[in-house]
């Protein structure tokens, strides 16, 4: 069962940047300013790059005929292991920025831990590649979060609404699935449960600086890492996978 756990864990690591890339790419041509359009699409490409590294690694686990493309284009909703936060609609720019902020604070923590403490050298290699880009993305979201939170009344209201809607999906990501528990025991993956407090404190401190509240309402107990998703993922996959499913094996 060890190899199966590693495969699922790699999908858990790969699917969030994959789905996030898909969502970010929806901004192409629609961002509020040209420079933001370029930044978001660049970010999407970076995230896709991260997903590819991990899907390539995951493909080496399974016997038989699989590769990164088959994993990306032929799995169904219940087989996807992305954090549900990443499949939520882009909404307005405020929603996207808050979503990216929540996502990248987590990503930075996760990949820093992998880089420093994983016993898998290949995964550590991936960490060395993705971490600088994640830091860049986080800097972007943080800069925009500050400007929107302290900007106009309207920008602040939109940020408050975004936080209210999105925080609901955040805490569950710290719950470990059975596969992750195995890989934590193996030293492959860090136990992110032990970092939940640090995450929440980091966010809370930053929000204090920006006069933003952290909601105290009940939160979801499913993260998506176990395969339970919102109604949105089906639509994302329908679009993302449509071409390959209609014409399997199609190449550029």
């Amino acid at each position: 069962m060890k190899d199966h756990s590693r495969h699922i864990t790699l999908l858990i690591l790969a699917d969030s940047p994959l789905i996030n890339a898909q969502r970010l790419s929806e901004w192409t041509g629609h961002a509020p300013q040209l420079e933001i359009d370029i930044a978001l699409t660049n970010m999407a490409l970076d995230k896709l790059g991260h997903a590819r590294l991990l899907l390539q690694y995951a493909a080496t686990d399974e016997e038989g005929d699989t590769d990164e493309d088959k994993l990306a284009f032929f799995r169904d909703v219940r087989e996807f292991r992305n954090w549900n936060l990443t499949e939520l609609p882009d909404g307005d720019f405020g929603v996207t920025i808050v979503r990216q902020y929540f996502f990248d604070i987590y990503q930075e923590m996760l990949w820093k831990q992998i880089k420093e403490n994983s016993n898998d050298t290949h995964l550590q290699g991936i960490a060395a590649r993705v971490l600088p880009e994640i830091k860049y993305h986080l800097n972007f979201s943080d800069m925009w979060l500050e400007r929107l939170a302290l900007g106009t009344e309207e920008s602040r209201e939109r940020v408050l609404n975004a936080i209210n809607e999105l925080w609901f999906f955040v805490p569950a990501v710290f719950l470990n699935t059975p596969e992750e528990v195995n890989m934590i025991k193996d030293g492959f993956l860090p136990d992110m449960k032990t970092f939940q407090k640090e995450y929440t404190n980091t966010v809370r401190q930053r929000f204090n600086d920006l006069n933003l509240p952290l909601p105290s309402h009940p939160v979801h107990d499913k993260s998506g890492k176990e395969g339970y998703h919102t109604e949105h993922l089906g639509f994302i996959l329908a679009e993302m996978q449509s071409l390959q499913r209609e014409m399997p094996g199609l190449e550029w």
Partner: protein, 92 residues
């Protein structure tokens, strides 16, 4: 939104000078720098980025090219090339 126009100058890894890469709009200095990195270093990473608000650049008037930039080569009266240097002096 009134976003200010900035000129972007980038020095590449192998270069010694910042070269003018183009311009962009941004609401403030920090984002101007960030946007410059996103817009102008997509394919080749530079090592140093300068952004300057366009209205801070004082530039020569292109219409006055002739007066300002006539090369000194054509002004032979400016060059000390009419002296005979005695042999005892040697090379100068």
């Amino acid at each position: 939104m009134e976003w200010k126009l900035y000129e972007v100058f980038i020095r590449s890894k192998k270069g010694l000078h910042h070269k003018h890469a183009g311009s962009l709009h941004a609401p403030d200095e920090q984002l101007a720098l960030k946007n410059a990195r996103d817009v102008y270093t997509r394919r080749n990473e530079g090592v140093s980025i300068w952004v300057v608000p366009s209205d801070q650049i004082i530039a020569s008037d292109p219409g006055e090219k002739e007066e300002n930039f006539e090369p000194a080569k054509n002004k032979i009266y400016r060059h000390p090339t009419f002296y005979d240097i005695p042999d005892e002096v040697g090379h100068m």
